[in-house]
Symmetry: C2
Subunit: 398 residues, 2 copies
């Protein structure tokens, strides 16, 4: 407002839901790590040195040569028909009408929340879970029902309790969960979709990491088991590149019916240009090659990090344990109850290593004995010395 009291008092004018808009605590940590000699295991970024820059250039050249005007023009809200066909081909249970292109998985979560959450509703989420999902649901003025998660993913009995308590939406990361690295077992996949059916409650299956499997056999996607109750979110961000902001929702046409209208209201459509380039790349067969490359790279990094953790924190007397993910980008370390990873974070950064304190991943405050490590961007040397520094801090901190 002006000094004469005229003008807009922006904070007084803000909608009630803005009180639920919390900044990302991870981003605050990332800012601290951008100075000095800090080895960061905090970010969840893919390894940029693996990006297929030359292939993107070649695909862009082809797109601009062959259909440049169309690539730069407005396009349909549902997404490019060719790209939707490619996505639909990966999900034989749904046709092209069950595919909605979105501007990153985060937008997919936001649109599903916008279409399926009223103020006061409660969402069943693993505790811990991906904070970006919590941030996408919160503006819709919802509550969370925490669901237990262990090495086999979310615990069906705990999910059932959340549903019995009235949750109207289930959020699951079935493969190589963020932050725990856990994958939902086959038995639990069946149990989870049956619970959803029994309670008539939709599932959002957020699956950014599913293709980055290092060990073991692929497990069925929830949407493929139960296309009647699941909206699946897939993305190019962890396999190809995140900078395109290109992802998709897959589900029954009935489930997506309000979503396409919400998408139109939200941003008309996703970039035609990046959709065309991505389609050119997947048609060239490069995506499989790229996924193999990323997978091999991350597998090696995971192995190094697990070895280093064994060395630094493997003494059972110390009371630490950590997950052994079969894919993805994250390891979850938990320590004795006396460990406060929030309190230790600054000391760790001062000692030259960064992680994300576990607290950031809980729908409610209070859980401070865990932390998330990412092995996706660190070099082998950084993993060696970073985990040594971390071990020192954690051993002192308990």
């Amino acid at each position: 407002m002006n000094s004469d009291g005229r003008g807009v008092n922006w904070s007084a004018r803000a909608a009630r839901r803005t009180t639920r808009l919390r900044p990302s605590s991870i981003r605050e940590i990332l800012k601290l790590t951008q100075t000095g000699e800090v080895i960061s295991f905090a970010g969840g970024l893919p390894a940029a040195e693996l990006f297929p820059v030359a292939a993107v250039r070649a695909a862009t050249d082809r797109v601009l040569t062959e259909r440049g005007r169309a690539a730069l023009q407005y396009s349909t809200t549902e997404g490019d028909a060719g790209l939707r066909e490619w996505i639909a081909a990966r999900h034989p249970q749904v046709g092209i009408d069950g595919v909605q292109v979105v501007s990153g998985s985060q937008q997919g979560l936001d649109l599903v929340a916008k279409c399926y959450l009223d103020p006061g509703d409660s969402v069943a989420v693993a505790a811990p879970t991906y904070p970006g999902a919590l941030r996408s649901f919160e503006p819709y003025e919802v509550r969370f029902q925490p669901v237990k998660i262990d090495d086999d993913g979310i615990v069906p009995e705990s999910l059932e309790a959340a549903l019995a308590a009235g949750s109207t939406l289930i959020y699951v990361i079935p493969n190589f969960d963020n932050p725990t690295g856990a994958s939902l077992s086959v038995e639990r996949r069946h149990a989870v979709v049956e619970l959803a059916r029994a309670y008539g409650v939709p599932i959002i299956e957020d699956d950014p990491y599913g293709e980055l499997r290092f060990d073991g056999a692929e497990l069925p996607r929830l949407v493929d088991l139960a296309p009647d109750v699941v909206i699946h979110a897939g993305t190019f961000s962890k396999t190809l590149v995140p900078g395109f902001r290109l992802a998709w929702l897959v589900g029954s046409p009935a489930a997506l019916d309000p979503v396409v209208r919400a998408k139109q209201a939200a941003d008309l459509h996703t970039s035609t240009f990046t959709q065309f380039i991505a389609l050119e790349i997947v048609r060239s067969g490069l995506l499989e090659e790229q996924v193999d490359k990323v997978r091999d790279h991350y597998r090696g990094r995971r192995d190094l990090m697990l070895d280093a953790l064994d060395r630094e924190l493997g003494d059972p007397a110390l009371g630490f344990r950590w997950t052994r993910p079969s894919g993805g980008m994250f390891i979850w370390v938990s320590g004795p109850d006396s460990l406060d990873t929030t309190a230790l974070a600054r000391a760790a950064i001062a000692a030259g290593v960064a992680y994300v304190p576990g607290e950031a991943f809980y729908p409610e405050p209070g859980q401070v004995s865990g932390l998330r490590l990412s092995y996706s961007v660190a070099s082998p040397d950084q993993i060696e010395s970073g985990i040594a520094r971390l071990g020192h801090i954690l051993r002192q901190g308990t």
Copy 2:
């Protein structure tokens, strides 16, 4: 649901706000025009033959050569610092902290609505106005206060009545309005921002067409007159290309404070790749050249369409009038009260010409004697014969 009654009843599960999600009526008309020999003045697309395809290719090559990895990686929610600096330089009243990059103006409207509209609030909008804006506000369960608009833009007395009736947000397209083509006079610009100040109500200034001025002097932007009460939405969609989905909000840091958090929740950030390419293009100086080209092209088309309208509907006895826009893409034709442009639309398409019936642009049903013509994509021959067909239909239809 399954036949046994288990499963998700998606429409019953849908959030209350989804009842406010209406599909775009313009898109339905556009679908009808995609078959056969219909000359379409319905779409609001820019002319694709003017797109700087070669410059986009050159800029993309430079971006991928010089900083390919960064261009394909995640980036900040606020937008690329270089691009934000370029935008801030066009608005000396605000610094870089007053710039938020968004994925198209439509997303800008959605984010402002999300941050500043509670259920039951009312938005002051011109009647007629841009339907995409109505679609972006509606999911927030708001009402509309219609504001009169004439050849000098929205009428301040009518806006004041809307504010007195309790509107808490003002939506304005100050330059070459969609659909009327009208521009807000300088006097009214001052009056409008003073009303906003007096009532303490924010303005969204949606300005996609401001640079496409054919005649007369540039008028001050509302945000430059009153950065304390205005959030301005600018875009590359009508000057460079729409397929990048690249636009920006400009306002005071206080105004944008919740917007950046809403953006993070909505889609993390806008495509790094398209931001880098656009920045490369604006730095090369090509944008000015491109704007000149687009402006000259559209000016010629406008002149042809106005001449054709004079010929076909100029007889005062017919009771038609139309706007004479000094820029932008649209002419608004209004006929005698007996004209029903909704009823005539199918006959017009059958006769080989399409327009958007005026009804689509009103916040409430009922106004059917106007229609919108776009001259941006039609060729000179199409304008000649299309307006002849339209004249025939309209003369018969009154």
